[in-house]
């Protein structure tokens, strides 16, 4: 027995919503608590009204509790996205409709006469595979130098390309009407080429990173004070890395400046002179110099022997003796 009581509330059970348009606050309650209490009272009445109709709906028993089928909500709210537009028929679909061609269900396996087995319609080990054909008979219309197997492969490639082109055209048509399927995106691959026919070169990630640094070297301060974009990393330094000693350093065992100057001074003053003079090298150098001079004198002798025969031999003896002097002194020292 249902009691038809005049419900002054507007109920929307589908949304679990209740609205009381008749209540008004003739005078605002003085304290906040009073206000809250009154609001809760009114709220309780409304919720009770919704629950009344809700619990009276036919329910089914479920594991967690009684399950109730809600009626559709009555308050109209705006949609989130536009209504999906139906896909326009593709060119083949239009043609098929016009001609009355119906789709036929195809089986996954097909009987292969040649091998006498059931083979797939497509995929690995399929029925009419191109690579399984052993012999192609030549026809009168065939040219002599042509490879029929290669020709078959080319034909297949062309057919696949044509199919792709048609598919693209169909998708473009759908995109024009705003009914592109959600998982498909059409992207422009290449911009139109102007000027020379060279395709635009792809810049690598490292190159792009260095571009700013390269441009910065043209500034007077080498790009050190250029304003940087947020997130831009400082440029990598190119060229030799110089290491400078610290200005102030303690004097002790590890004072590097002291070590450096010591090394230089030792080399100059030759504190350990036996380490400084390489005897073998000095002897070789002296011998080489001597031989060179002897060679030169021989040449000179050959050229000007007629003119100064009397004078020169004496001079030579002198020179030899002079030469021997420092050489012998050196040997003495070593």
């Amino acid at each position: 027995m249902e009691t038809e009581n005049q419900n002054p509330f507007q109920l929307d059970v589908g949304n679990l919503l209740a609205f009381n348009p008749f209540h008004n606050f003739p005078s605002l309650p003085t304290s906040r608590d009073e206000l809250v209490k009154e609001c809760l009272q009114e709220g309780t009445k409304l919720v009770q009204a919704v629950a009344d109709s809700l619990f009276n709906l036919p329910s089914t028993e479920d594991v967690d509790g009684p399950l109730v089928k809600l009626p559709p909500p009555t308050t109209k709210l705006p949609r989130e996205k536009h209504l999906p537009k139906p896909k326009p028929p593709t060119k083949w679909e239009e043609f098929a409709k016009k001609k009355g061609i119906k789709k036929r269900k195809k089986d996954k396996v097909v009987w292969d006469e040649q091998t006498g087995a059931w083979k797939r319609r497509f995929g690995y080990d399929r029925v009419n595979d191109d690579k399984d054909i052993p012999i192609i008979e030549a026809k009168m219309t065939d040219e002599p130098g042509e490879d029929p197997f290669a020709k078959r492969q080319d034909d297949k490639k062309k057919r696949v390309e044509k199919q792709e082109k048609n598919r693209l055209q169909n998708l473009k048509q759908a995109a024009k009407l705003g009914a592109l399927p959600s998982h498909v995106q059409l992207a422009a691959t290449a911009l139109p080429i102007t000027g020379t026919q060279a395709p635009p070169k792809k810049v690598t990630k490292d190159e792009l990173g260095n571009v700013a640094g390269m441009a910065a070297t043209s500034t007077a301060s080498g790009g050190k004070f250029d304003r940087k974009l947020p997130g831009e990393k400082p440029a990598k330094k190119q060229g030799k890395h110089r290491k400078f000693l610290p200005v102030v350093e303690g004097s002790g065992i590890c004072s590097r400046e002291k070590e450096q100057t010591e090394n230089v001074l030792n080399k100059l003053i030759s504190k350990h002179s036996h380490e400084i003079l390489n005897v073998d090298k000095a002897v070789t150098m002296y011998n080489v110099k001597k031989e060179k001079k002897a060679r030169n004198r021989k040449n000179q002798e050959g050229r000007s022997s007629s003119t100064s025969n009397k004078l020169k031999p004496k001079k030579q003896l002198h020179k030899k003796g002079a030469k021997k002097g420092p050489g012998s002194s050196k040997k003495g020292k070593a």
Binding site: L17, E42, G65
Partner: protein, 314 residues
Amino acid sequence: MMKIKTPKKGRVKRELDKRAPKLVETGKKTLILQGTKTSGTLNSVLSEIYHLKKGGAVRFTRKNDNIRPFESGGETSLEFFSLKTDCSIFVYGSHSKKRPNNLVIGRMYDHHVYDLVEVGVENFKSIESFTYDKKIAPRVGSKPFIAFVGEGFENVDELKHLKEVLLDLLRGKVVENINLAGLDRAYVCTAISSNKVYLTHCALRLKKSGTVVPRMELVEVGPSMDLVVRRHRLPNEGLRKEAMKTAKDQPKKKVKNVSSDAIQGTIGKIYIPDQKVGEMALPNKAKGVKRERREAKNKDANEHASKKQKEESE
């Protein structure tokens, strides 16, 4: 030159299909973000709204200084975020001297701003300040009861608009079946004056009563605040008409091999092909059972036997 891009992974395809426009829509996701300056109360308001809408909300914590919903150019960032996060309602909080504790609640249609309502928050009480028995605390994601009280919601334009927006924000997913044991929360909105609304969130306690319907008791648990309507922008008429369009219930696609009967309920037909028991292959043939092996064994045995005989004879 155009290229067709399709996702290589099934997971990506499923995600894209989730975001595609559908005939019957699932719940709207909410985007909660803030402007250059926020106050303490506003921060807690935003975090509590996020908590109430945990399942379908995205919270941005950084400040966004280029979002001005009511200005013509200041919506581009919002639309971009809405597109990227797939959110159709946003709650934008900001605080300034002129508009303290400001909340802008807005909706999107096709990721473009549809309508906006600007409210100020006063007398905010957070969840922590309420003491209640923890057992009746509402669970995350449960469908709430929503109650609107007051003639202001009927008479005043701004409050009417606010009512619609609040309903959209608070209601959650639209479901066909609901478990009566899982009803545990209610929102109560009262129009106190022509521009003020008192919003509070309560937990439900169902008490035994004589009839099937339990007696409802509301206990305030969640945040409660006073909303003062400041500005609002209604959608323009053409956009509103388009957004309110619903698809006429198309006859559901007939599921094959399923029929329903008044007496027996849903009946399904399963077709099983003929079982040829003699020709069936055993699933895992034991090694020893294989014929080749048996034959080889027999052959070996015979050979051994013949060898032995020969040796004996020799």
